[in-house]
Amino acid sequence: MSKIFLTDTTLRDGSHTVSHQFTIDDIKNVAKALDEAGIDIIELGHGDGLTGSTINYGFSKYSDYDLIKAASSVIKNAKLAVLLIPGIGTVEDLVKAKECGATAVRVATHCTEADISEQHIRAAKEMGLFTVGFLMMAHLTDVDRLVEEALKMESYGADVVYATDSAGAMLPKDVTEKITALRKNLKIPVGHHSHNNLGVAISNSLAAIEAGATYIDGSLSGLGAGAGNTSTDTLVAVLNRMNIDHNADLYKTMDASSKALVPALQSKGLHPHTNLDALMIGYSGVYSSFLLHAKRAAERFNVDVRDVLLELGRRKAVGGQEDWIIEVASNLAKNR
């Protein structure tokens, strides 16, 4: 299966969850951690894109330009993306974003209105930005129309086109149908952005990959509007399990969640949705009730709970063998 390129939108779609109150430090910490984790594209800014800071959508604590500068100062490898929704932001705003350090843009329109993105996609390409066409609310139109609109974005020069499930209303079969059709008709790569409102974000991401999408969105701990996006952490674990190639490091992605994002959320009285320890249970294939026992043992022997669970999985422990946990944890401590 083709290599998957991950876009993390914690700092853009997740901006909705914190009512656009991310601070400069939040941005720096999370962007740096995502970059170190090997995420390909980091998107940031107001949830509604450049100049989305308004009465209608809520005002940001800091301007997008200050946030871009902050992230740009810590990112070494990843592309730094902004969202531009024609009708809200303009080409002029994009020029400023580029001057502040943006290297990619996602130009987003409602799924039937791609022609309003022509001037922005063309301008972005002229500026040398990696340019993604983002067809939002893709559940609201049929396959033929979606293909027609995606072809327009391709003709304007987009590098990738997304079928974006902004409402989290698509089911895996809808994703399969739409991504398959886009792949069949487009020359450029296809992407998918999901929301977990029906609890199928990760299934939809996998359906997209199986249908040929090579650009997939996630956010740390599944932060994001509504029930949030596909959790990047979970997605990386699942891709590893499926032996699908990508550039991210699982532990470092999880660390970006727990060490960079969680403190930022807690400072705003919020908590993440994804239970990262439980993620490791699934990833390593151990009995679910091991969770609390493994956490206690890891604390007792001062080892990483993830290593404890991975080792238990390797040993193929079965239900009832909670006693093995202590031995594994103590061994890890000894062999350190």
Partner: protein
């Protein structure tokens, strides 16, 4: 008294709708509609019995009798047309975002002085719908920031608007400041493809320095009455409400259903404004008729 003859450049949605509105005018008559090539719009106008030409602006320049010209093409085309029309002494209503001349929103700034100019710009449909409300609130309460969200049906947004949506938002935002009187402004436009098509709908948020809601309501009420004189389908959906210093007002425009169905209130309001200005200019030409 003989009606004043009018030329139209560009037989698209706007141009064809104007034919209906001008056809009803007591003061104006649509004399000639032109394009640079044969088109469906030209065929349509022919069927309506209107004289047409495919020689573009030159056809209009040749006719001295045409005193008023509506340019419904594009900004780039208007930059070419404007100096030619100026030399020929015709009064030009610019319905493109070119804005060679000053903005005019009839309910707010139509004056004798404006009618002495040779070129006025109609801002945008969203501008015609929202600038008067901002101007009214500004007069009553001093607006420091105006933000509008304009939703229009996909079917009523023509290719010109779609290709140049930045010009649409930037021009509208500028008019909110220059004609509406807001210190700062922001414009959001959303296209909605729902069927049946939605009516044009605008939400106007203003931050005010003197939050006297009764005074604001009265000013908005008076303004709505003034607009309804030339745009009958203009209705408040939500009269001004206030929270802190933010006033929220919502309005909708139901079109007259001339060329496009009633959901195209956006098209109606800009054309109604243009015809209103042209009629006042015609009255001036006819001599002594009072400007309203």
């Amino acid at each position: 008294m003989e009606k004043v003859k009018v030329g139209i450049i560009g037989p698209g949605n706007i141009g064809l709708d104007l034919l209906y509105k001008l056809g009803r005018s007591e003061y104006l008559t649509p004399e000639l509609i032109v394009n640079v090539r044969p088109s469906k719009g030209i065929d349509y106008a022919n069927k309506m019995g209107i004289r047409t030409s495919t020689e573009g602006v030159d056809a209009i320049l040749k006719e001295e009798d045409i005193k008023i010209v509506f340019d419904c093409t594009s900004a780039s085309a208007h930059f070419v047309h404007a100096p030619l029309l100026k030399d020929s002494g015709k009064f030009v209503l610019d319905l493109t975002p070119a804005a060679v001349g000053p903005y005019c929103v009839p309910a707010v700034n139509m004056t004798e002085d404006l009618l002495n100019l040779d070129n006025v710009n109609l801002v945008t449909c969203a501008g015609q719908a929202t600038v008067p409300i901002v101007a009214a609130i500004n007069q009553a309460a001093d607006v420091s920031y105006a933000e509008i969200v304009s939703s229009i049906s996909s079917k009523s947004a023509g290719p010109g608007t779609r290709k140049n949506i930045d010009e649409f938002t930037v021009t509208t935002a500028r008019a909110l400041r220059e004609v509406g009187g807001a210190d700062d402004s922001k414009v959001i436009i959303v296209l909605n493809p729902a069927e049946p098509p939605i009516f044009m709908r605008n939400t106007i948020y203003t931050k005010v320095k003197n939050p006297d809601i009764e005074k604001i309501k009265e000013a908005v009420d008076n303004m709505v009455k003034k607009i309804k004189e030339y745009v009958p389908g203009y209705e408040l959906l939500l009269e001004p409400i206030i929270q802190g210093d933010v006033v929220t007002t919502m309005m909708q425009v139901e079109g007259l259903g001339d060329y496009l169905p009633v959901y195209s209130g956006n098209l109606d309001i800009i054309n109604a404004a243009a015809v209103n200005i042209a009629e006042n200019y015609a009255k001036k030409l006819m001599g002594g008729v009072e400007v309203v």
